[in-house]
């Protein structure tokens, strides 16, 4: 079965989930993307993308334990499903295939 095609922002969110592992939830994902890409990012955009990824069967979510630093409120954590992993790998492979050999030209742009 062909892996699902991912949009650019979906790839970024999935990579952030892979990086954050157990600490992947809305606020940390937004922070991670904002810090690494220097994009001004709304948390709503992250939620929307996470919803979409969940509907596509690429990620799963679960509600964590109450946390003292959030006044007893729980977090909604996200993790990659196998389909998500395949889609991300495929997207990365495509990207690398297209980008390889272009380093000098891209620098010159």
């Amino acid at each position: 079965m062909d892996p699902v095609t991912l949009g650019e922002f979906e790839q970024i969110v999935l990579m952030s989930i892979v990086r954050l592992q157990a600490e992947a939830y809305g606020a940390t994902i937004r922070r991670d993307i904002e810090t690494r890409t220097a994009r001004r990012l709304s948390i709503s955009a992250v939620y929307t993308t996470l919803d979409r990824l969940e509907q596509k069967g690429l990620v799963r979510c679960w509600i964590g334990e109450p946390t003292a630093e959030r006044g007893g409120r729980r977090r909604k954590h996200f993790a990659l499903l196998p389909a998500g992993g395949r889609a991300l790998k495929a997207a990365h492979r495509d990207y690398m295939a297209m980008a390889t050999g272009l380093e000098q030209r891209l620098k010159a742009l």
Partner: protein, 879 residues
Amino acid sequence: MLDRVLLAIITRALPSADREWMSGDLEEEFLRVSGHHGRWTARRWLVGEFLRNLGRRASIPKVKFMNWIDLKLGVRMLVKYPGLTMVGGLAMAFAIWAGVVAFAMLAPMLYPSLPLTEGHRVVQLEVHDAEKNGDESRILYDYTVWQGSLRSVTDLGAWRNSGRNLVLPGVETKPVRAAEMSASGFQVGEGEPLMGRVLTDADADPAAPLVAVIGFGLWQSRFGSDPAVVGKSVQLGNEHAVVVGVMREGFEFPVSHDLWLPFRPIRTQPAPRSGPPISVFGRIAPGETLETAQAELATLGQRVAADHPATHQHLEPKVSPYAGLLGMGGDESVIMSAIYIFVLMLITLVCGNVGLLIFARAASREGDLIVRTALGASRGRIVWQLFAEALVLGVLAASVGLVAAHFTLKNWGVPFLEANIGRLPFWWDVSLSPLAVINALALAIFGAAVAGVIPAFKLTRGMSDKLKQSSAGSGGLQFGGVWTVIIIAQITATTMFPGALYWERYQLSRVADFDYGFAADQYLTAKIDRDASTSRETIGQRLEELRRRVAAEPGVSAVTFVESLPALYHPSVQLEFPDNANIPSPAYARLAAVEPGYFDVLQSPVIAGRTFTAADVQAGSRVAIVDQGFVDRVLKGRNPIGLQVRFAPDEDAKNAAPEPWVEIVGLAKDLGVQAAVQPTRVSGFYLPAPPDRLKELYLMAHVPSGDPASLSQRLVEITTAVDPTLQLSAVQRADQVNSDLVWIIGLWLQVTSVVSAVAVVLSLAGIYAVLSFTVSRRTREIGVRVALGGPRDRVILAILRKPLVRVVIGVFVGAGFVLAAGAALRTTSFPGSELPITVRHIAVLAGYMVFMVGVCSLACIVPARRALRVEPTVALRTE
């Protein structure tokens, strides 16, 4: 507090299923943004997130009943019923405007915060005197201790006001709001120079040449935006300073200053609890909190108290957020709640009336609603439809209200606050904030709920029965008790507003037409502030020189100095008489300290006895003059000349040595020793004093012919020439000293007039709606009556009876409230309490009641004419 409210509002808007984790994420990110970029940036971010979240379909709770078609229908209704749109929309807009303006004006007082990136870390450090239950501002010694020891507060600095005249060649000399401030104030206040540099610690060295930094506004207004101003020498009072920098626009730290000088009060090691009053600021160090800073400060305070028990035994240092420097005391939530309850009451009343109009409109569509019910629409669905229609009107009204509020705040907000409390601190922003916009939208939704949901429930009650009757328009629907109460309440309020208008108009005329007792329009007055460092003798000599030179000006006949001007506040004193004088003690009077020539300058010689002489201001002389009010009120008409009187001891100083007796030597007419707003006549008690002994200092120059105001510029020039440290302000005619007050009362009068007009229009619209509804409901009955030959006047009476009864009840209840409020006012000491309720007042009120009934009857004309045009054959066919 503001952040908690904001987070709570936004959390409420989140879908309940996701609220817990979403609000946790939002708060976590809010705290992070706040820590990195400051509170205001974080608040803007949060509001942006909220608005974006609203647009995210997945996060919006699914609305089961309302849909876009309802909103579209609401827009069509606005167009189809332009009268209701205009009246209802404007009324709701007015209520929302009132709510938004009140919120915007009070928010800076109740929830102050600094518009600085690190504003939440900026604090003030004070010392509280537990014994006197007040603040001790002579804290120079404490400041030096804190500077050396305090670790949890960084960038510690101090400042004090240093109002001075800015003397520039060819430009009118005016006082500037200067601050002597530590260099760290520029870091704490996040100030960047536009040109040159800010102050440095080296500038504070007393041996260094005096330098000054000027504010952007001052640079524009007084220096003509001179690009070469840096490096120039300017005269400040009797000193010269070199301008080393111009600040960027907006920098006014520490409060609302426009010129900065180095803070140099420390020439030697200061003694505990000595030196000039100063204020201290700083920033909470990274990793520290307000609580840890307070704990460290308290420890330092205890150490100082142990070292200096004589001065510091009862002193307690404290640290608090800087923005609270001029905040409102008391429980802020109570104040805000009280104001909000008032706003909600106003909007409920207004929207209740709008609901009446919507009800009448919806009633005419009863047939449509019955058909919708027949097609399967539930009651909830129809309620949502009517709510959506009201919501469209409410959102339109909120837009108009917000524009009006923006215009009001821009044009009158700051002037109104400044007329009441002086120049505003730099962090007081009375413009429309995102929170104020959210507030307006919340009011619009609340208003729509009142105006749409209540009529909808009333209208849809028993809809299935009506369906069975299948006789739309047969008269089953009626106005109920709720609408009766609303109409009566509206007319009651409409009747009461003129009472408030009359009271405000009375206050205005009393202040504007205040009886000064002398020709106040012939006097030029000015407030004079002196440099505290100048000796009394020098001040005395300079004032004599000022008097001589002003009096020598053409047109000026005489000059005098007083402690307070006529029609302004005079302090109240408690007096007592010898036991054998048989005069009740203590007696209360208003104290006026004046020069010996005061009564001659005012061309109001004493009525009896003698005036003050130069000898009366010498040591050992104890004489006083009283006014006619004193004789009438305290002495009950007795001759005052020769009576002995003295200041009564305070309650907490009963055992102190008694004050010396003073002999009353003269009687003057009433010359305005009371504030113009003071309701009752007061007793004036004059004591002689040379000008250098007056606590406050005002100049009065008599200009018998021509406009005294034309002397203003010359007065400033002469004062600057005599002594550049004398700061003149409020240069105006004596009869204009209350012009600010007149403006404020006038503004209230205009607001009340608009409120009254809105109330009258709503009343008329409400009555019109009721009658139109009644006629449409009773078409068949009217037709039968006319067909059977019923007299037309009876038909009209039958239609008008109920609405007119409501009008009459409302008018009488309103009149009763006005009379009760007038009677209650007389038992208080509020302004207006001296107003007796006379036959004339009752006659005016009765006339207004008749007028109101007449005006309300006008609203009946169109429906009544419509009723009489009903053709019996047509009416009978409606069955």
